[in-house]
C-alpha cells in the first residue's frame, strides 16, 4: 500500500522506525501550543496608527476605503459608491446579521438580496471577520452567513469591516478565529474555507504587466465602520 511504502521510505531515510510515543506527544504539544515566530514590528502600533496602516496597505494594493462614523451610514455609502462607478443600484449581500441589521429601508432604490453569489451578480457586499494591518488583508472565514462565492464571482466586491476588528499581524487574526469560531463538523475552529484577500484580483501574465480584474473582482471597496474610539484617525 502506498501509504505504508511512503512512510517507511521516509523512516528509512531518517534511520528510525515510527516516532516513539514520547516524541510524538511532544510534537502534538507543539501543534496544540502553535508557538508564534518572529512577528514583524511594522504592525505593532497604537490603535489609530494600526488602522491607518491597514488603510494605507489596502490602497497600496489597489483597493479603496471609505471610513464611516457608524453602521447606519453604510447603505448610503453603498448607494453613493455604486452611482460613482456607474453601476446599477443592486447587490447581493452576505446573509450576516450585521448586514441584515443595516437600515436598508432608508435607501429603497437599492435592491439587496441576501444569499450566495451567482453568475451575473455585478456587486457583492461581504462581511469581513477581521482586517490585518500588516498587509491590508481581509479575512473571510466561510460560514452560512459569509459565502465564499461573494468574494469571487462579482466584478465589484464591497466589504463591511468594523475598525475594532483590525489586528496587526496574521497570527492575531488566527487567534481571533480560534477564540470565536466553532466548526460543527470537526469540533475545531477551522471552517471549510478561509480566504485572506489583499486587494482586487489581478494578473501579470501578459508581458509582466499588471492588469486588475483577472478572474475575481476588479474592484475591492472597504467600508470601514469606526466602532473603536481609540482607533479613530
Amino acid at each position: 500500500m502506498s501509504r505504508e511504502a511512503i512512510l517507511s521510505a521516509i523512516r528509512r531515510g531518517l534511520r528510525r522506525g515510527p516516532l516513539p510515543p514520547d516524541q510524538a506527544a511532544m510534537l502534538r504539544g507543539r501543534i496544540a501550543a502553535h508557538p508564534r515566530h518572529l512577528i514583524p514590528a511594522r504592525s505593532r502600533l497604537p490603535r489609530a496608527e494600526q488602522v491607518a496602516l491597514f488603510v494605507r496597505n489596502v490602497e497600496k494594493e489597489f483597493g479603496t476605503v471609505a471610513r464611516l462614523p457608524d453602521p447606519s451610514a453604510v447603505p448610503g455609502a453603498i448607494a453613493e459608491y455604486l452611482a460613482r462607478q456607474n453601476l446599477p443600484p443592486a447587490l447581493v449581500a452576505a446573509p450576516h446579521p450585521d448586514i441584515a441589521a443595516l437600515p436598508w429601508a432608508d435607501h429603497p432604490l437599492l435592491q439587496v438580496e441576501h444569499r450566495a453569489a451567482r453568475e451575473g451578480d455585478a456587486v457583492s457586499l461581504q462581511h469581513a471577520f477581521a482586517g490585518i494591518a500588516e498587509t491590508g488583508t481581509l479575512m473571510f472565514p466561510s460560514a452560512r452567513e459569509r459565502p465564499t462565492t461573494l468574494n469571487l464571482l462579482p466584478e465589484t466586491e464591497i466589504v463591511l469591516l468594523r475598525a475594532s476588528r483590525i489586528v496587526g499581524a496574521y497570527e492575531e487574526a488566527w487567534d481571533l478565529l480560534r477564540a470565536e469560531n466553532r466548526d460543527g463538523r470537526t469540533g475545531g475552529f477551522m471552517p471549510r474555507n478561509v480566504m485572506l484577500v489583499t486587494g482586487p484580483s489581478r494578473s501579470a501574465d501578459i508581458e509582466q504587466t499588471l492588469e486588475l480584474g483577472a478572474h475575481g473582482p476588479r474592484r475591492l471597496h472597504v467600508l470601514l465602520v469606526e466602532d473603536d474610539p481609540s482607533a479613530r484617525a
Partner: protein, 476 residues
C-alpha cells in the same frame, strides 16, 4: 506529461539563445523580477531573520515528516476529506482519474499546479475522454499553444503580446475574427469571459497546494487571479494535488512562509488570495465542494530524506533562484527540458527523473551563488549541484559521457552571449582551471578574462582535481 528533453540541454540552449521572442521576453522580465524582490525584501527589516526561521521550520518538519503527514491526513479525514497516498506519478494519475470518473466528470477546471505538470495529468485525462481546462491565464494560453510552462510562477512569461493575440484569434474561433485587442486588458477580458463559463460548467476542480497544514488539515493556495479559488469553490468535487514535502505543522509556521513567499516570488508583500481549504462543504454552508480529495504525491521525494538532497525538500517554489540565475536568464525555462527549470530544477530534476537523464543539468550553472543568496529557505543550491557532478564522477560514467560533458563546457564557453555573463564573475572556477593549464588557449574565453580580476577561491577541490584528471584523459 512534459516531454523530457533535458538530455538535449545543449541544443535547447542554442535554440533559446537565437530565439528573438524569448530573448525579448527575458530582457523585459529579468530586471523586473529582480528589482521587485529586492524592494520587497528591503521593505521588511525582519526578512533575513525570517529566512533562518523558515529553514529551521522546514528542517524540523522534514525530520518528523512521517508524523506530520499522518497527523495532517487524520485532520483532512475529520473534515470530511479523503487522502490518496500515491507513491508514483502513475498512482497519482490513476487516483485523479478514479475520482473524476466516480464524479461522472466531463470537464475539469484546473488551478496552477506544478505537480500536475510533473505527473502529466492533462494528457491522462484527455486520453480518457475528460477535458481539462487550465484557468491560470498563463497556463491557459500554454494549453492553447500546447506548450509546457517555462517558469514556475510566470509560466508564459516567455510570450509576447503578439503571441497572445495570435493564439486567441486562432483558438477562439466563435468570436469575430476582426476584433481588436487595443490593450492588454482586452486580452484579459476575453479570457475572463470564456473561462467564467468553464468554471461554471466544470464537474471537478483541481488545484495544487503551496502548503498543507497538519494542525488543521488545510491545503493552502496562493494566487493573484482568483482562478484557483473559483476552481476549488464552484465544482462539486475539489481535488488537491500536493507533494509530501508541502506539509508544515501549524498556522503560525505557515505565516513565516507566507511572509517570504510573495516577496521572494513577485515582490508583492502578500499575494491577493491566500486561501485555506479544509474538507467538504459544511451542512449549513451555501457554497463549496461536496467532495474534497487530496492526492498526496511522493514520486521519489521520500528517497531524498536523509541524503544531502533533503535540503531541496524545503523548496517553496517561489522562483527567486531562476529569476536571479544568469543561465536561466539567458536561455529561459524550456531549455532545461522538464517541469522544473533553473537552479531548483537542476537539483530536483535528476532526483525525480534519474541522474542518467538529467545528470548534466547541474552543469548548467556558473556557481555564482546568487540563487542561494536569494532562496527564502536557504537551500544550498550550488552545493547540491556540485554534489550531482561529483556523483557523476563517482559513478565512473563512460568516457563518452564524460567527453560529452567537456564538450558541453567548451560549447558553452564559445557562445558569445553566454560568454559575456560567464566572464562577468561566474565561471571563475572553470576559468581558473583553464588558465592554469592553458587548456583554454584555443578558446575565445581566455581573451576576455581580465588579468587583474579577483578570482573567487575555487570551491570543491575534489571536483577540480577530478575535473583536471578527466580533462587530461580526454585530451589524450
Amino acid at each position: 506529461m512534459v516531454h523530457l528533453t533535458s538530455p538535449a540541454f545543449k541544443a535547447n540552449a542554442a535554440r533559446a539563445l537565437s530565439d528573438a521572442g524569448l530573448q525579448k521576453a527575458l530582457a523585459r522580465s529579468k530586471p523586473q523580477f529582480q528589482a521587485k524582490r529586492a524592494k520587497a525584501a528591503a521593505g521588511l527589516p525582519e526578512f533575513e531573520a525570517l529566512r533562518d526561521i523558515a529553514r529551521d521550520i522546514k528542517n524540523h518538519t522534514l525530520a518528523h515528516l512521517d508524523f506530520y503527514l499522518e497527523d495532517y491526513a487524520a485532520k483532512v479525514e475529520a473534515a470530511g476529506g479523503t487522502v490518496h497516498w500515491c507513491a508514483t506519478a502513475e498512482d497519482a494519475r490513476a487516483a485523479v482519474l478514479r475520482i473524476c470518473r466516480a464524479a461522472g466528470a466531463r470537464t475539469v477546471t484546473k488551478g496552477k499546479s506544478m505537480i500536475s505538470e510533473e505527473i502529466g495529468i492533462n494528457e491522462h485525462l484527455e486520453a480518457h475522454g475528460i477535458t481539462p481546462v487550465e484557468t491560470d491565464l498563463g497556463e491557459y494560453i500554454l494549453q492553447l499553444r500546447r506548450e509546457p510552462p517555462s517558469h514556475i510562477i510566470g509560466p508564459a512569461f516567455h510570450l509576447n503580446r503578439e503571441d497572445w493575440e495570435k493564439s486567441f484569434r486562432e483558438s477562439h474561433t466563435d468570436l469575430p475574427p476582426d476584433r481588436e485587442f487595443r490593450e492588454r486588458r482586452d486580452i484579459l477580458a476575453e479570457a475572463r469571459t470564456l473561462l467564467r463559463q468553464k468554471f461554471l460548467a466544470a464537474d471537478v476542480g483541481i488545484t495544487g497546494a503551496n502548503f498543507l497544514i497538519a494542525e488543521t488539515g488545510s491545503s493552502v493556495i496562493v494566487t493573484n487571479e482568483g482562478n484557483g479559488d473559483l476552481t476549488q469553490t464552484l465544482p462539486r468535487v475539489h481535488i488537491v494535488l500536493a507533494s509530501i514535502e508541502k506539509v508544515v505543522p501549524t498556522l503560525e509556521d505557515a505565516c513565516v512562509f507566507l511572509r517570504l513567499l510573495a516577496r521572494s516570488a513577485t515582490g508583492q508583500d502578500f499575494s491577493v488570495y491566500t486561501t485555506f481549504s479544509t474538507g467538504i462543504r459544511r451542512e449549513t454552508d451555501l457554497d463549496g465542494p461536496h467532495e474534497y480529495h487530496v492526492v498526496l504525491l511522493d514520486n521519489g521525494r521520500s528517497n531524498m530524506v536523509g541524503t544531502p538532497f533533503q535540503d531541496m525538500l524545503r523548496c517553496i517554489r517561489c522562483a527567486a533562484c531562476m529569476n536571479h540565475c544568469p543561465v536561466y536568464q539567458s536561455v529561459g525555462g524550456h531549455a532545461y527540458g522538464w517541469v522544473y527549470p533553473g537552479p531548483m530544477g537542476s537539483v530536483l530534476t535528476p532526483t525525480l527523473v534519474g541522474v542518467e537523464k538529467a545528470g548534466h543539468l547541474p552543469n548548467a550553472s556558473t556557481f555564482c551563488g546568487k540563487c542561494e543568496s536569494v532562496c527564502p529557505v536557504k537551500i544550498p543550491l550550488p552545493k547540491l549541484m556540485r554534489h550531482w557532478r561529483e556523483r557523476e564522477f563517482e559513478r565512473h560514467l563512460t568516457p563518452a559521457t564524460t567527453r560529452f560533458g567537456l564538450r558541453f563546457w567548451a560549447w558553452f564557453a564559445r557562445r558569445p552571449t553566454l560568454y559575456r555573463w560567464a566572464t562577468r564573475a561566474a565561471m571563475a572556477t572553470l576559468g581558473w582551471a583553464g588558465r592554469k593549464r592553458g587548456a583554454f588557449a584555443a578558446l575565445p574565453l581566455a581573451g576576455g578574462w581580465t588579468a587583474g580580476r579577483d578570482l573567487p577561491a575555487p570551491e570543491g577541490d575534489t571536483f577540480m582535481a577530478r575535473y583536471a584528471r578527466q580533462r587530461r584523459e580526454v585530451r589524450r
